[in-house]
Symmetry: C2
Amino acid sequence: MTTPVNRRSVADRIAHRLRDAIVGGRLRPGDELPSERELAEKYAVNRSSVREALHRLETWGLVHIRHGGATRVAEFLEASLELLPHLVAVGGRADPSILADVHEIRGMMLGWCAEKAATMADPASISRLEELVRQMAEPRDPKELQALDYAFFQELVAITGNRPLALFGKVLREVYFGAREQYLPIYQRDVFDLRPHRKTVEAIRARDAKAASEAMREHASAALKVLEDRP
Amino acid sequence: MTTPVNRRSVADRIAHRLRDAIVGGRLRPGDELPSERELAEKYAVNRSSVREALHRLETWGLVHIRHGGATRVAEFLEASLELLPHLVAVGGRADPSILADVHEIRGMMLGWCAEKAATMADPASISRLEELVRQMAEPRDPKELQALDYAFFQELVAITGNRPLALFGKVLREVYFGAREQYLPIYQRDVFDLRPHRKTVEAIRARDAKAASEAMREHASAALKVLEDRP
DNA sequence: GACAACCTCCTGGTCGGACCAGTGTCATCG
DNA sequence: CGATGACACTGGTCCGACCAGGAGGTTGTC
């Protein structure tokens, strides 16, 4: 189910229904949406709520609203990054390659951040990384491991001090936690290998940028393999 | 001026005014915004329009709206990527490091894409890269060189076939062209060095992933140095 | 018949005013 | 002193009216 919570606002509910219709292909790019008044009647809500929902879709890059004209489904190529989590959450099953793509991006960032972290990390950050690895050694379940792995990633990004990169990381986070089940195979007890993380932290402590980067790339490519083997 | 067009909707105008207030620092993270009713009175518009504006700010990640409680300014770390171009354009002068940060991200992507491209590129793509380098050898002005350099970047990303990464690239593009003047020092005739690009294309043609990556990283770090030397 | 101006009906945009639904505060009561 | 509940906020939803831009048919002219 793509609607975990029912306490969402009316506008949110409608926005997500329409989103699913668009991302799921029932509404195709170029199609006209019903008018706000029609949608309001159809969903038995007020037009204001429909308007709010439509504006949300617009900021997601899913529709174009034109004063005087009909509201149309946008081309996906124009989609904004905001949409990515939704694309993965809804369309992930239909097109699993996008999951791997996102994971690949995370791998790229991991490698790069580890390299920088080896020269920039302060003792406190390194301790936090070590603490995370310690917790990852005894995970309660794959979900917790996944969360810790992301925290590790986030800490590495934070060490680089690159704030825009942290924003990129946040998008990845939304993708991950929007489609977390699909990434779970990576985090099964008999599959997940913690050694690269250990190596990375050791390398960072030893200021060995190359080794740190290598270790993280190793982790990423192993995880990617798991993802590709279990479609 | 940050308001080029006056034909924007009322909600848009208000959203942009509030955005500027937040990004500009007049409203700090944690601060309470006035209530919707107060804002409506202050700006002499209807509460619906204010609500629409506030929801836009929320999807940008700039505020948190809580039913029953006050609307507060969010932490910048939570801001959406959509906002990044504006952050750079407005905050770039006050905090030039963010320009370098963005450039660094581009460098990371360049290195990674070049590496992948060396194993994946088809002849047509390689030809396009060569053509771009040829054009870059005789630029009419720095601006054209900048545009070609971005096109080169985009082509590399396209070769990897990673569509989400292309979306990330699109965000970088918006940042670049929103603050293009600030990046121009890199593209001065006596500064810009085309050799890394040549090397990259050669390495890709030779299927030498490591060399391709190295060359692009060389270009990125050289450009970064220019950026840091001319604040 | 070709073409332009116009009219009309559709669309989304704004309005204001009512009421519902969560939150925080503060006086009151045990 | 602490729990409780009334109250005065906050945002959320609704209604119904009107404004304003766009598209297509109609009419009038040439």
